[in-house]
Symmetry: C2
């Protein structure tokens, strides 16, 4: 099973004519509380375990796409034309090849209000927005679950960016991945705050994809990860249902640290930590030891995302002046 076969299965031989005026869509970034780390199928991005995220509706990617006369794609990021040889362009063109019904190029304008490739889930919102825009462009009228599957082919975690709120990416069991997509939780949590602490906007030295594959291939502890993720996911869903913030924070932080532990145990190690990362982690733990209800999560990058509730917001923003607070459930 490869990506074109998944696409063919979803479209069942139907053909589509693009809208002449193009189409535009937005998708949010999502921050995983139970991480996606490792694939059971690398060709079509099927995960080794289910994961769980919360979307940040004010942060993400807006994408405009139209079909053009020239054969080459024209790709723009935040207003700037990108050379076709760049990784960003190649990934986009590769993905668009799945939906290129004629030998014609696409013009794609991507506007993102988050740094690219800095561990802030930019590729997740990017592929989700692109798939939503393609759905409009071609008038596919696919279900959100089907769009989630198509987004997954671009970047695994993109399949969670089709919704706001809490989203579970169910790993599924189907060899073709037709049951491996996002499923939104109905719970809301208006007091929940995420605090973005961006230390490094520069691109990571090692991409998440490479770090993930290297971890799976070389970490002696990786084989235990799927059971850790499954247990954490169940605890997090219970914490969300019961609005038990201490449990949500503790398990989110522990799950993130387990993922980083796997990377540290890869041979050679992958260490997504800069001096600011560890000094901030120690500061968070010190504040927590003083009684502050504050946790964090960390993706495959140097930055941290604080987890706290509205009543603690003022105190936490005073402690971490660079923290940008985002409330997932408040527009």
């Amino acid at each position: 099973m490869n990506k074109p076969e998944v696409v063919a299965k979803i479209f069942q031989g139907r053909a589509f004519v693009p809208s002449l005026e193009g189409a535009e869509a937005f998708a949010p970034i999502n921050i995983a509380l139970c991480k996606y780390w490792g694939k059971r199928n690398t060709a079509i991005n099927l995960p080794a375990a289910s994961s769980l995220s919360v979307s940040l509706p004010s942060k993400g990617t807006r994408t405009y796409i139209k079909v053009i006369e020239t054969a080459e794609d024209k790709i723009f990021l935040n207003g700037q034309s990108l050379d076709a040889s760049l990784d960003f362009s190649k990934k986009l063109t590769d993905f668009l090849n799945l939906f290129r019904y004629e030998a014609r190029g696409f013009e794609v304008h991507t506007e993102s209000n988050i740094p690219i490739s800095a561990g802030l889930a930019s590729s997740a919102s990017g592929f989700a927005a692109l798939v939503l825009a393609l759905d409009k462009l071609y008038n596919w009228r696919l279900s959100r679950s089907q769009l989630s599957i198509l987004s997954r082919l671009g970047s695994g975690s993109a399949c969670r960016s089709l919704w706001t709120g809490f989203v579970e990416w169910q790993a599924g069991q189907d060899a073709e991945g037709m049951d491996s997509h996002g499923v939104p939780l109905t719970d809301t949590w208006p007091d929940l705050c995420l605090g973005l602490l961006v230390f490094a906007e520069a691109q990571k030295a090692i991409s998440s994809r490479v770090a993930m594959q290297h971890t799976v291939a070389t970490s002696p502890f990786y084989k235990t990860w799927p059971s850790v993720a499954a247990a954490d996911l169940a605890t997090l869903k219970q914490a969300i249902a019961l609005k038990d913030f201490e449990q949500l924070g503790f398990v989110s932080e522990a799950n993130a640290m387990a993922m980083h532990a796997l990377m540290l145990s890869a041979r050679p190690s992958v260490l997504y930590a800069r001096p600011e990362t560890v000094s901030t982690q120690h500061a968070i733990w010190a504040a927590r030891n003083q009684g502050l209800s504050l946790y964090f999560t960390q993706d495959a990058g140097y930055n941290l995302k604080l987890l706290f509730l509205e009543p603690q917001r003022a105190e936490i923003e005073a402690l971490f002046p660079h923290c940008e607070t985002v409330k997932p459930f408040v527009k």
Copy 2:
């Protein structure tokens, strides 16, 4: 089986009279290349896996001990009298109770040329020197292996500080731990250099003992550690036999990072990293990517120990001006 029973088994009911003038001994610190992390028996410090170290004969502890008239122990560290309520004093007195034939105190003078409780193996050299001094004080005439077992009762890794050079701590299988002691390797490696990089001489916030027990109790990955350590130990012994420095360095570093990964995956995490720790790790990896043959190991503390060979010494000391180079096989 508890500590007094192990001591009774070794001495078989023999009684000893202390020398009136006291006795003095020195033991080196040892740096583990395959780490000791986790116990199969906490009462008598039996390890979950075998480990391997190299001793640094110029760094360590010199201990003088004599029996005094008063009942209370008098403990001095680097010339300063220590209060009996300090952890250092309590650990020493507890250990000395194993060898107190009359209700009389000991006067103990400990001189150490390394920081205490900073991840520099000070307790290993301390207990080894103390046991060597007791052997002289009482004229026990025990074998090195027996002294190694007694040292182990004070601090597990102390059992490797009874020798210079490479020392394997064989985990053993005996429930009483009579086969769990150091065994020196005959190999020497005159070109081998260890570079001590001390960022923090202050005591660690969390002791190795507490971090180890917390890891064993809460890390979801710990169950894999004994097999990781066994495989690394075999590879390191092969690297030493073949003088394959790349293999020695790579596996030593990976084994240390696997231990730190376990701590990171404990719940909550234990992170022995300060800003200088991670910036130096990145600097080491950058130098290695440039072709320099340089590795490191890290114990349960913030400091790093560089591993390199004499031909690279000048270049490495220029890159890391605070590095104190020690050659384990050169007096």
